[in-house]
């Protein structure tokens, strides 16, 4: 048996004798189980509620009876945000993004009902998700397992014995890393399989077509993250004179990386880039809709221009003579102008979000926890960009709905005969039912290249440190 394996075997034996570590491992497995189960439960609950309500709203739309298309456009419909199946693993922003939206003519509404609003401030401590357990709790288990891996050998004198028998530091270090990685793999593998089974067989695939790829990616980044933690902890232990010191350094880094720094970065990003209040935001939109984006073309002028344009194009003297209902075209042009206004203002808000999130991406270069947190949400489809993509899809659907209504009005009704015209279920059926699919994963990756770079850099750094120390360390160090 090669010495590497012997070292690893011995290390595993010792770890299994540590009652505290074993207890913690059991607790973590328990929590992981509970987290996955609870996540699955709430995914199922939400899925049922949303499919049902969405179907109801669809029926309401189809069976709204005969009415003028513009009234129908105001009657509108609702869209509810589906939970992605991988939200059972990482809840991400799900509690903090709105879940319902009302689609109607003239107004691009904001999403309503953030689930966290239905909780006391205890929700701010976080919810138990499998991702939370692996991101925060498992590293702690790693620290407990590994902090004494070298110091114990040193304190009890076995280190000199091992070295004198011709075992290199290289073999020792990698043997230890191998041992802990194996242990973690054994602990976590069942849950990975569980996650795969749940999300492939328990899911309603429509919203997330590339689930398997995403799970593989998730497994990959978490494996890298945990490996980094193991290697770093063993390295710290190698460099510490006593177990107590190693523990102190590791615990301080853990708290700094997982608790303190994410909060500070988020807070700084808010101080750097201010968001307007909703009242100002809406007021600015209304102003631009009324007076034009340049502030010089009020609605009346825009209508006048359109009228002139159409009259000369069709070579007629009055709007009544146009081959279509001028009001319908006017309505649609007004709508299109408001789209420009909305795109402008929502674009600014998104830009602020991007900048705020960018800070956390940059900070992830020094903190792999942040990389994993951001990537994990991205792969689970619970991150900002998936939400914004959903928001855009919904808005495109709303615009399509209004366009259909306005065009019908232009084609089928007469000028000035608002109360005389009514469309029926044939028109309502022309609008397809809303459905949503998350974008393929490679599309959202472009927002996260810094996070990848971070993981890569850390990997290189840790490997370098370990190799360097393996070569330089003397057994009687400290």
């Amino acid at each position: 048996m090669p010495p590497l394996i012997i070292v690893a075997k011995k290390e595993i034996k010792i770890a299994l004798r540590e009652k505290l570590a074993v207890a913690l491992a059991v607790i973590i497995m328990l929590l992981l189980g509970v987290a996955l189960y609870a996540g699955f439960l709430s995914y199922q609950q939400q899925h049922v509620v949303i499919t049902q309500t969405q179907a109801e709203k669809r029926q309401e739309w189809l069976n709204q009876g005969d009415k003028h298309p513009h009234i129908a456009a105001h009657y509108g419909t609702f869209v509810f945000k589906p939970k992605t199946v991988l939200s059972l693993f990482d809840f991400g922003l799900d509690a903090y993004t709105g879940t319902s939206i009302y689609l109607e003519a003239h107004h691009q509404h904001e999403f309503m009902f953030r689930p966290a609003q239905d909780h006391s401030s205890m929700i701010r401590f976080g919810e138990l998700s499998a991702a939370l357990v692996i991101k925060i709790l498992v590293p702690l288990l790693i620290i407990f397992l590994t902090f004494a891996s070298y110091t114990k050998e040193r304190e009890s004198g076995t280190l000199s014995l091992l070295i004198s028998q011709g075992i290199s530091f290289r073999t020792l270090t990698w043997g230890k890393i191998l041992a802990y990685s194996t242990l973690l793999l054994v602990i976590l593998l069942p849950f990975l399989i569980g996650l795969l089974i749940l999300s492939i067989f328990g899911s309603h695939q429509q919203t997330m077509p590339d689930v398997t790829t995403r799970i593989v990616l998730l497994a990959l980044i978490y494996a890298v993250y945990l490996f980094l933690f193991i290697a770093f902890s063993v390295w710290v232990s190698l460099h510490s004179s006593t177990g107590r010191n190693a523990l102190l350094i590791l615990l301080s880094s853990w708290i700094f990386l997982t608790i303190l720094m994410p909060k500070t970065v988020a807070n700084l990003s808010e101080n750097f880039y201010d968001l307007p209040s909703i009242r100002e935001f809406k007021a600015a939109i209304e102003k631009d809709k009324a007076y034009g984006l340049d502030g010089k073309t009020p609605r009346s002028v825009r209508i006048e221009n359109l009228e002139k344009e159409l009259l000369s194009k069709y070579e007629v003297d009055s709007v009544q003579q146009l081959p279509f209902n001028f009001e319908g075209v006017m309505m649609q042009r007004g709508e299109e102008y408001s789209h420009k206004v909305y795109d402008h203002h929502f674009g600014k808000i998104k830009e602020i979000f991007f900048r705020q999130n960018r800070l956390s991406s940059l900070a992830s270069l020094i903190n792999p926890f942040l990389s994993v947190q951001n990537l994990s949400m991205a792969f689970s489809g619970t991150d900002t960009y998936t939400f914004l993509h959903f928001e855009e899809t919904v808005e495109t659907y709303r615009r399509e709905m209004i366009r259909k209504m306005n065009n019908d009005m232009a084609e089928n009704s007469k000028y000035g005969e608002f109360f005389e015209y009514a469309a029926g279920s044939e028109l309502w059926h022309q609008l397809e039912d809303f459905s949503y699919q998350t974008p393929p994963i490679w599309k959202s990756l472009k927002y996260y290249y810094l996070e990848f770079v971070s993981l890569l850099l850390w990997m290189v750094l840790i490997l370098f440190l370990i190799n360097y120390s393996n070569r330089k360390t003397k057994p009687l160090y400290g």
């Binding site: 505290l20 976080g126 009242r279």
Partner: protein
């Protein structure tokens, strides 16, 4: 104070001053504390600015209305404005009033749910439920990560500092071989540990109180009527929370294990109380009291009367609404003029009346959740403490649920004001502008009960933990 104790304290002080790491941690906490105060204040100041802006917008709106009464000869636009100002059939859905909960002076120290909920609304006489569910703009990532305020520093970081200072109190002696020397002293080893714990307790509690005091003083004058009791409660809470963690450390130390064991156990306790227990409770409460906001979403639909051109239908809607309003009943003249406006007003109000039940049920479910989690606060003094601080700063969920009720009352005042005039066909006079509806919110009665109860629970946990530690120390382990 007898001599050995004085000696102990003197030596503890010496070893404290020489320990660079401990000094470094103290200054880190101090810096984070100050930054947290600053950051909380800048967040709340932004809210104050927004409140000023919206109040200014409202004043501008109403002063325009009032000014429109002065003009003798009017342009078309002025005429339109005067119509909006004086004719209830326009005014009831145009005049917007702001309902605001201004932040408590100490909200900046514990932002709680204040970043998540709306703290101001603009209400018109239109259906309340159109206007209630719009969210404030916020980056969901930052909402998820939460605020960096003083309550975070006190609840999360302070315990870590306490752990770092105390985990080696007994084991260091054992590991350095000084334990035997201590054991042969006339003073008992338990007493030695207690004196040293007391020393660090005083020091760290003073630090926590100092940071709190800086926060309290810079956020508002603690001597005013509104601030005095909250400030006292804050300081008391912080002190007792510190005491709890010291009792916890005493308990761990009393097991007389190695330094590493103590550090691991203490951090595991911290993890349990600050992350695992609340996270598990949050998941359980979501599953146990499921909430379906999709039903409420439907209320925001902007519907009108189905057949508004038919007089009979409009008349029926108005009559149905009048049946709910005894003050408006009994006159035909209520219906005759301005039927469209009255019909629409009646329609949206009826909608509110009919859906109020649904909204109430929903809010009740939220309150149920809140009450259920309240039962488990004793499990984690940290959760308890955070809740107490949020209650003190009036940034807790209850305040916002209470605000929702106050909004409903205010909306009723607004509709009463306009609908009496609309249905009796009276114009809005310039004098009426002196009696516009005003938003009021009375503080809820039981908030202080909750605060003192919460603090008492932490105190009980402290005493029990301490006694257990005291008992364990007497055992021969």
């Amino acid at each position: 104070m007898d001599k050995p104790i004085r000696t102990l304290i003197r030596y503890e002080w010496k070893s404290f001053v020489r320990n660079k790491f401990q000094l470094f941690m103290l200054s880190v906490i101090l810096i984070f504390g100050l930054y947290a105060i600053y950051s909380g204040q800048s967040e709340i100041n932004m809210q104050r600015e927004t409140i000023q802006e919206v109040t200014a917008l409202e004043q501008e709106e109403f002063s325009k209305y009032k000014a429109s009464y002065d003009e003798e000869v009017r342009s078309l636009e002025e005429e339109q404005l005067h119509d909006i100002a004086s004719r209830p059939s326009f005014a009831w859905f145009r005049h917007g009033y702001h309902a605001i909960i201004p932040p408590h002076d100490y909200a900046s120290l514990a932002i709680g749910q204040r970043d998540l909920f709306r703290y101001y609304y603009r209400l018109t006489g239109m259906s309340l439920h159109y206007q209630l569910f719009e969210n404030e703009l916020a980056n969901p990532v930052n909402l998820m990560i939460g605020n960096f305020d003083l309550s975070f520093v006190l609840v999360y970081l302070l315990p870590l500092l306490i752990i770092a200072f105390c985990y080696g109190l007994f084991s260091y002696e054992k590991e350095n071989g000084t334990l035997a020397l201590l054991q042969i002293q006339s003073i008992s080893i338990r007493k030695i540990i207690l004196v040293r714990l007391a020393f660090y307790f005083l020091m760290l509690t003073c630090l926590a109180l100092l940071i709190s005091l800086i926060g309290l003083l810079t956020s508002g004058n603690p001597l005013t009527v509104e601030n005095l009791v909250p400030a006292v409660a804050w300081m008391t809470g912080v002190m007792i929370y510190c005491a709890f963690w010291f009792a916890m450390m005493f308990l761990i130390v009393s097991l007389r294990k190695s330094s590493s064991f103590n550090a691991i156990t203490a951090v595991a306790c911290w993890l349990l109380l600050l992350i695992i227990i609340p996270a598990v409770l949050n998941v359980i409460v979501t599953a146990k009291y499921p909430l379906n906001s999709t039903t409420l979403a439907g209320l925001t639909r902007r519907t009108g009367l189905e057949d508004e051109e038919q007089e009979e239908a409009v008349r029926e809607v108005i009559l149905e609404y009048l049946a709910h309003k005894p003050d408006l009943e009994g006159s035909d003249s209520l219906i005759q003029n301005n039927m469209m406006a009255k019909g629409y007003a009646a329609f949206t109000s009826l909608k509110d009346i009919n859906s109020q039940n649904e909204v109430d049920q929903y809010n009740q479910q939220v309150a149920n959740r809140n009450a259920w989690t309240g039962h488990f606060h004793w499990l984690s003094p940290a959760v308890n403490m955070q809740d107490v601080l949020a209650h003190i700063a009036e940034t807790d969920l209850n305040t916002f649920l209470h605000f929702q009720n106050a909004l409903a009352d205010f909306h009723e005042k607004i509709t009463d004001f306009y609908f009496t005039r609309l249905f009796w066909d009276q114009p809005i006079l310039l004098e009426d502008y002196d009696e516009l509806p005003v938003f009021e919110m009375h503080p809820s009665d039981d908030r202080w009960n909750k605060i003192w109860q919460g603090i008492t629970k932490i105190l009980i946990a402290t005493v029990l933990t301490f006694l257990l530690g005291f008992y364990l120390f007497t055992l021969d382990l």
